[in-house]
C-alpha cells in the first residue's frame, strides 16, 4: 500500500475560500429590516432595491418579546425597519424604539375602514407605524371531507366528531384568541383569570387533534389529507393551496374569528431614517401592497384598497376581497397581552402541547 500524498490541493482550496470570505457583494447602501417572513420575498423587495440602489437585509423573528430583546441589545444603526404585530406597536413605542413617520407621505385615506388601528399605531398625533397587511386566524378545512355547516360552529369543528382529523396552528396568540372567542370572551379584554377556561377548551381541542404545526406542517397535513381541518388557519394558509385543490378553503364561523394585522415602522436608532421611511412608503404604496398581499411566504389582505388595481380577479377572489367589510365587522383583533400575561399564555400553550 502506498502512502497518500498530503492534501495540498485541499489546502489551496481552503486558502482561496478564506480569501473570498470578506468580499460579499455590496450595494451602495443597505437597510436592515427585522421582519416577518412575508416581507422577505424577493419579488416584493427587489423592485425597491433596484429603484434605490440599496440592499435590504432582512431577518425574520417569531415573537414580539424576542424582537424587543434583540432591539434592546443592538447598537445604534443595527436596525432600520421593524415589522411587528399591530397590537404590539404600543409596546415598542413605550420602549422608545420607534421613530415618527411622515404623515403626508402615507396613503392612509386609501386604507380599508378600521384596519389602520390609529389607537395602536399613533400617539399624541404622531404616527409611529403603519398597518400594511391583515387577515384572519379562523378555520381552514377540506370542504370535500367535512361538512361545511359544521365549520360554522367552532366547538363542533374541534369536537370529537372530527377526532384525529384536526391540526392546530402552532402560534399561541391567535389560536388562544380564537378559543377565547369560541368561549364567549372578548380578545381585547382577556385577563389571566380567563386562562383556566381557555386551557380546558385547548385541552379538548388537543385531545382531538392529530398535530400542532407551523405554517408548512399545517399545509402539508391539510394538502396530504393527514387532517381535514386546521384550527387557526385562514386565507394565509390555504391561498397557495387553493389553485391545486379548490376544496381547501376557509370560513369565518358564526362566533367570529381573530383578525391578525401587521404594521411596519422606522426604528429610532436607525441612522438612515429617510431611506427607511422611503421603504415604508414603498410597502404601503399600491404596487408594494399588491406584492405584499401575494408574498410567497403567505398571502393576506393589503391594508391599502388601491392595491386592488394591481391584483388579478383570481387573486382577489382567493383573498375574498369583496367580503372584507362583512369579515372586518365579525372578527376581533389579536389579544394584546402585557409581558406578564404573555408569559402565562405561553405557559398554557406549552402545557397544551404536552397534554
Amino acid at each position: 500500500m502506498t502512502k497518500p500524498t498530503p492534501p495540498r490541493r485541499v489546502q489551496i482550496a481552503t486558502a482561496t475560500c478564506l480569501a473570498l470570505l470578506p468580499c460579499a457583494a455590496q450595494a451602495a447602501e443597505s437597510l436592515n429590516a427585522l421582519v416577518w417572513c412575508d416581507h422577505t420575498d424577493p419579488a416584493l423587495i427587489e423592485p425597491f432595491e433596484t429603484a434605490n440602489d440599496v440592499k435590504v437585509n432582512r431577518r425574520e423573528y417569531e415573537g414580539t418579546a424576542t424582537a424587543l430583546a434583540l432591539l434592546e441589545q443592538s447598537r445604534p444603526g443595527d436596525w432600520d425597519v421593524l415589522v411587528i404585530d399591530s397590537i404590539d406597536v404600543p409596546r415598542v413605542i413605550d420602549a422608545g424604539l420607534m421613530a415618527e413617520l411622515p404623515r403626508d407621505q402615507l396613503p392612509l385615506d386609501d386604507f380599508f375602514g378600521t384596519v389602520e388601528m390609529k389607537d395602536s399605531t399613533s400617539r399624541d398625533g404622531k404616527i409611529y407605524a403603519v398597518t400594511d397587511k391583515f387577515g384572519y386566524n379562523t378555520i381552514s378545512f377540506n370542504s370535500d371531507k367535512v361538512d361545511p355547516a359544521d365549520m360554522q360552529d367552532m366547538a363542533t369543528a374541534w369536537s370529537d366528531k372530527y377526532k384525529d382529523r384536526i391540526a392546530i396552528y402552532d402560534y399561541y396568540i391567535p389560536v388562544m384568541g380564537l378559543v377565547a372567542i369560541a368561549d364567549g370572551f372578548k380578545t381585547a379584554e382577556l385577563t389571566a383569570d380567563d386562562l383556566p377556561a381557555l386551557k380546558k377548551t385547548l385541552f379538548t381541542m388537543k385531545e382531538n387533534a392529530r398535530s400542532v404545526g407551523e405554517v408548512v406542517a399545517s399545509q402539508t397535513a391539510l394538502a396530504t389529507g393527514e387532517v381535514d381541518i386546521v384550527v387557526g388557519g385562514g386565507e394565509w394558509l390555504t391561498a397557495v393551496l387553493a389553485e391545486e385543490n379548490p376544496n381547501l378553503t376557509w370560513t369565518i364561523p358564526d362566533q367570529g374569528a381573530v383578525r391578525w394585522s401587521e404594521a411596519i415602522g422606522v426604528l429610532a436608532a436607525s441612522e438612515k431614517k429617510d431611506l427607511a421611511a422611503k421603504f415604508v412608503e414603498y410597502i404601503v404604496s399600491p404596487e408594494g401592497q399588491a406584492r405584499l398581499a401575494t408574498s410567497s411566504c403567505y398571502w393576506g389582505m393589503p391594508a391599502n384598497r388601491k392595491a386592488g388595481e394591481h391584483l388579478t380577479d383570481a387573486q382577489k377572489s382567493v383573498l375574498r376581497w369583496d367580503e372584507q367589510d362583512n369579515y372586518l365587522k365579525r372578527a376581533q383583533l389579536y389579544p394584546a397581552p402585557d409581558a406578564d400575561l404573555d408569559q402565562k399564555m405561553q405557559d398554557v400553550w406549552l402545557e397544551m402541547l404536552q397534554h
Binding site: T2, K3, P4, T5, P6, P7, R9, V10, Q11, A13, T14, C17, L18, L20, L21, A24, A25, N32, C37, T40, P42, N57, R58, R59, E60, Q73, S74, R75, D78, E214, V215, V216, Q219, T220, A223, T224, V240, L241, E243, E244, S296, C297, Y298
Partner: protein, 257 residues
C-alpha cells in the same frame, strides 16, 4: 443461507437510507404546487426557480466557505494539539485532553446558545464569522480525537528513525508524521466539513443577514409547502455527490498508480 440473509439485509438497509432521498428528488420534478403523490411531471421549473434565487445561491456559497474554513482550522488546531499531547510528556495532559474533547459532549444547541449570549454582549455580534467560530468549536474535538487516536507507536517509531537519521523536527513533522496520518487528517477534514455543511442550529442562532444554506432552507420550509424545497434539497444532494465522487477519483484514485 446466512450469506443470502446478509445481502437481503444490505439491500433493505440501502432502501431505508435512500428512501427519503429518492422521494425528495422525485417530487422536485413535480409539475404542480404540492410535492406529494400522485406524481405529475416531470418538469424542471422548480430548478430554474431555485437556481435563479440569489438568496439560496449566496447561502450555498456561504455554507461552502464556512464549511471549508472551519474544517481546515479544526484540522490544523486538532493536529497540533494531538501531536503535542501524543509526543510530549505534559503535566496535566489528561485534563487538557478532557477540555479539548469536552465540546463533543455538549449539544450544538447549547454551544450555540452560550455563544449567542456572549456575542450579544461582546464581539462582532451575529455573523457568518460567529457561526464559523462555533463550527470550529464543534469540529475541533472531532478532528483532535480522530487524529490523536491514529497516532500510534508505528508513527512514533518512524519519527524516531527519521530523527536518528538526522532529520530536523519540522522535516519529521512534514515528511513523516503528516503523510502517515494523512488518512486520519483527511477523514477529520471531511467529517468536519460534513458537520459544518449540515449544521443548522448554531448557524441559525449566530447569523443575521448572511446565512448558511440550512438556515435559508429552514426559512424556505417555514414559508410554505413547495417542490422548491425538494429542488434545493436535490441540488445540494447533486453537488455533494459530484464533490464526493470527484474527491474519491481525484484524491484516492491517483495513489493506486
Amino acid at each position: 443461507m446466512m450469506r443470502a440473509f446478509g445481502w437481503v439485509y444490505m439491500a433493505l438497509a440501502y432502501a431505508f437510507i435512500f428512501l427519503p432521498v429518492v422521494t425528495l428528488v422525485l417530487f422536485s420534478f413535480q409539475d404542480g404546487r404540492l410535492p406529494v403523490p400522485p406524481f405529475d411531471g416531470p418538469t424542471l421549473k422548480w430548478y430554474a426557480d431555485v437556481l435563479g434565487d440569489s438568496r439560496l445561491t449566496s447561502a450555498l456559497v456561504n455554507s461552502l466557505v464556512v464549511g471549508v474554513g472551519s474544517a481546515a482550522l479544526s484540522c490544523v488546531l486538532g493536529f497540533l494539539a494531538a501531536y503535542g499531547l501524543a509526543r510530549h510528556v505534559l503535566p496535566g495532559s489528561v485534563f487538557m485532553r478532557g477540555v479539548l474533547i469536552a465540546p463533543l459532549t455538549v449539544s450544538y444547541l447549547i454551544i450555540g446558545l452560550g455563544l449567542l449570549i456572549v456575542f450579544n454582549r461582546v464581539g462582532p455580534g451575529p455573523s457568518l464569522w460567529a457561526a464559523g467560530a462555533g463550527h470550529v468549536v464543534i469540529n475541533l474535538p472531532l478532528a483532535f480525537a480522530i487524529i490523536y487516536a491514529s497516532m500510534g507507536a508505528q508513527q512514533e517509531n518512524a519519527e524516531r528513525a527519521a530523527r536518528d537519521l538526522g532529520a530536523s523536527d519540522v522535516k519529521v513533522l512534514a515528511l513523516v508524521t503528516v503523510p502517515m496520518l494523512a488518512p486520519a487528517i483527511l477523514a477529520a477534514f471531511f467529517l468536519s466539513f460534513t458537520f459544518s455543511w449540515d449544521e443548522f442550529i448554531i448557524a441559525f442562532l449566530l447569523t443575521r443577514f448572511e446565512v448558511t444554506l440550512p438556515v435559508e432552507i429552514w426559512s424556505l420550509l417555514r414559508s410554505g409547502l413547495s417542490p422548491r424545497t425538494n429542488a434545493i434539497g436535490s441540488v445540494v444532494f447533486l453537488v455533494s455527490v459530484v464533490l464526493v465522487v470527484g474527491l474519491e477519483l481525484f484524491l484516492f484514485g491517483r495513489k493506486r498508480h
